[in-house]
């Protein structure tokens, strides 16, 4: 039982909790306490030192929006944002309830009356914005993966294709999202002219910019993974006389999955980083826009609220990375995965 939990935790990269499980299972308490002190104590001390340094320095820096906020101010802002979210939700619920009551009254008076439920149009809360950001980054990441993995496989299989693609990859890889954005915006405006309201233009622009910037690591890693498949596996395919697509799906893709997922993991990280910049400029209602709006707003709370966003972005990025590590381990079949 304890071993199963430990395996699961180390599989997910949650190594912090392993000593606690061991302690509960009754393994040598002295060792476990020492482990707890090293894996948890040291990071906590480091964080405390950082917080102290931060609050000391922040107090020294005066901006036009007041002092740079320290940890306490940021914590309070975070709480305010959550309260605002809760308040907005209550308002929304009340709005729908009022409509329903009104509709019920209308129907009681005249059973044939046409009733409508109007959508709530309040401003998005912080949580909504996080949701939008996540949805946008996953859309962009999905587009990037759908382009990068097939091209990467073809590049890895054929060195002439690789030679052909290589200069393009090398040139486009370092381009900043900020350079792509105006072009993407114009192209999206020109091509996406329907008004069916399925997607906002700002959402499409952000997602495509994310895709353009994050597809390169996946492409390069997939190509590398496919090119470095163990020659024995290819020999197996040859001896069995597998057809082209059978070879791809039964040998090439499974064999290069660890590499592909390493690439996807880097891509998702890059995508998340790029997304904030893209949302700022494209005005997609996510965390990027939140930061930008707070900056433009310029109230005495703005800096603290932006710092809340900074930590949110960091934590979500960290979580996304952990999720990808789990996938990566899942497809590595006993080979080691670097999870740093």
């Amino acid at each position: 039982m304890a071993n199963k939990i430990i395996n699961f935790l180390s599989f997910c990269g949650l190594t912090w909790f392993i000593p606690f499980v061991r302690l509960c299972a009754g393994e040598n308490p002295k060792d476990q306490v020492r482990d707890i002190i090293t894996v948890i104590g040291i990071p906590i001390i480091a964080i405390l030192i950082f917080l102290g340094f931060w609050s000391f320095t922040a107090a020294q820096i005066k901006t036009s929006l007041g002092n740079l906020p320290g940890p306490v101010a940021v914590m309070e802002s975070g709480r305010t944002l959550m309260d605002e979210h809760a308040a907005e939700r209550t308002k929304e619920q009340a709005f729908y309830e009022r409509q329903e009551q009104r509709n019920a009254k209308k129907l009681a008076k005249n059973p044939g009356a046409e009733v409508k439920i109007r959508k709530y149009t309040g401003k998005p809360t912080y949580i909504d914005q996080i949701g939008t950001s996540l949805f946008t980054v996953f859309t962009g990441f999905l587009i990037a993966s759908l382009i990068a993995v097939p091209i990467g496989v073809i590049c890895g299989l054929n060195k002439y294709v690789m030679t052909a693609f290589n200069p393009l990859i090398q040139i486009f890889k370092p381009v900043s999202p900020l350079a792509w954005l105006p072009i993407v915006t114009m192209v999206v405006s020109a091509l996406y002219t329907t008004t069916d309201g399925w997607f906002e233009k700002s959402f499409i622009t952000s997602a495509i910019t994310v895709a353009l910037c994050s597809l390169w690591p996946s492409l390069i890693n997939t190509a590398l993974g496919v090119a470095s498949i163990d020659k024995d596996y290819i020999n197996v395919a040859k001896v069995l006389k597998l057809g082209f697509f059978e070879k791809i799906f039964k040998i090439v893709l499974p064999a290069s999955l660890p590499y592909i997922f390493t690439g996807l993991r880097i891509s998702l990280g890059v995508g998340w980083m790029v997304l904030i910049a893209a949302e700022m400029l494209a005005q997609n209602p996510g965390l990027g826009k939140f930061v930008w709006d707070e900056f433009q707003n310029g109230s005495s709370h703005s800096l603290a609220r932006i710092l809340v966003a900074v930590f949110t972005i960091g934590l979500i990025g960290f979580m996304l990375d952990r999720i990808m590590v789990v996938f990566q381990k899942f497809v590595s079949f006993g080979q080691d995965v670097v999870s740093a």
Partner: protein, 283 residues
């Protein structure tokens, strides 16, 4: 007509100055149902020879005939057991064998293919490990899966490329016995590549030494007329064995020495250093 025939086969790698001729003018013929062991030093071109027969590489000169027809590429009629197992790590034991069976016997129905898989996994005594992945198996078990995969394709000829060289001595002994048993039941043509004289003597009808490369050629063959089943423990008292083993070993050592003396250092300048005292100072 011989079952498998190699006619003046040569193979080298590279071009110009970097060219290395691995095999030179190899000719041999193997009859159906025969178990032939090819013994050679590391680097003498054994794997090149088996790759040629399996069709993974093509000879520069000469031709290889199977049943009178030239070999043009790899195919499931020649089952290969590779030196490093080459099992697919993402598939289970069953999956690895099934991949081969499903590919070779496409026209069979699913049930019959499944039975074929189970039969050959059982043959190598791995039924309990059917659902395990290669990373959960020991080296010997992996090699048995590899043998099962090759045999399940029902090949005309089985090519074993140093299948046991990565295993410990005990496992090697068990697997030798197992391979011999399978061969006796199946009477398949087998070519075994090995660097172990004893392994050749236990398993094969005929041992052919491969003289060390570059330009490796085949040496004189040794017929092994020892009754089967051969028991490793009783072998030491067998008269044929007692005569044959020193003969083969002597021949191997001779060609080994010859090749070592042929590889000269050239005009390499050696440092003018004399060791003064090689004893350890203990005090």
């Amino acid at each position: 007509m011989a079952f498998l025939e190699l006619k003046n086969v040569s193979k080298g790698y590279g071009h110009g100055h970097d060219r290395v001729d691995v095999l030179k003018d190899i000719s041999m013929s193997i009859d159906e149902g025969e178990f032939v062991a090819i013994i050679g030093f590391s680097g003498s071109g054994k794997t090149t020879l088996i790759s040629l027969i399996s069709g993974l590489i093509e000879p520069d000169e000469g031709e290889i005939l199977l049943n009178g027809k030239p070999i043009t590429g790899p195919g499931p009629d020649r089952g290969v057991v590779f030196q490093n197992y080459s099992l697919l790590p993402w598939l289970t034991v069953e999956g690895n064998v099934a991949l081969a069976v499903n590919e070779v016997f496409k026209d069979w129905d699913a049930e019959r293919r499944h039975e074929q898989v189970l039969q050959y996994v059982e043959m190598v005594n791995l039924t309990p490990a059917l659902q395990k992945r290669p990373s959960e198996l020991s080296g010997g078990m992996r090699q048995r899966v590899s043998v099962a995969r090759a045999l399940a394709m029902n090949p005309q000829i089985l090519l074993l490329d140093e299948p046991l060289s990565a295993l410990d001595a005990l496992t090697r002994g068990t697997l030798q016995t197992e391979i011999e048993k399978i061969w006796r039941n199946d009477k398949k043509t087998v070519i075994l590549i090995t660097n172990d004289v004893d392994e050749g003597i236990i398993l094969a009808d005929r041992i052919i030494p491969l003289n060390p490369g570059p330009n490796a050629t085949l040496g004189p063959q040794f017929d092994i007329n020892i009754d089967r089943p051969r028991d490793l423990n009783q072998l030491n008292d067998d008269d044929v064995y007692k005569k044959l083993k020193p003969e083969i070993v002597e021949y191997m050592l001779e060609i080994g020495d010859k090749s070592a003396s042929e590889t000269t250092l050239g005009d390499l300048e050696l440092p003018d250093i004399q060791p003064k005292d090689l004893r350890l100072k203990l005090a």
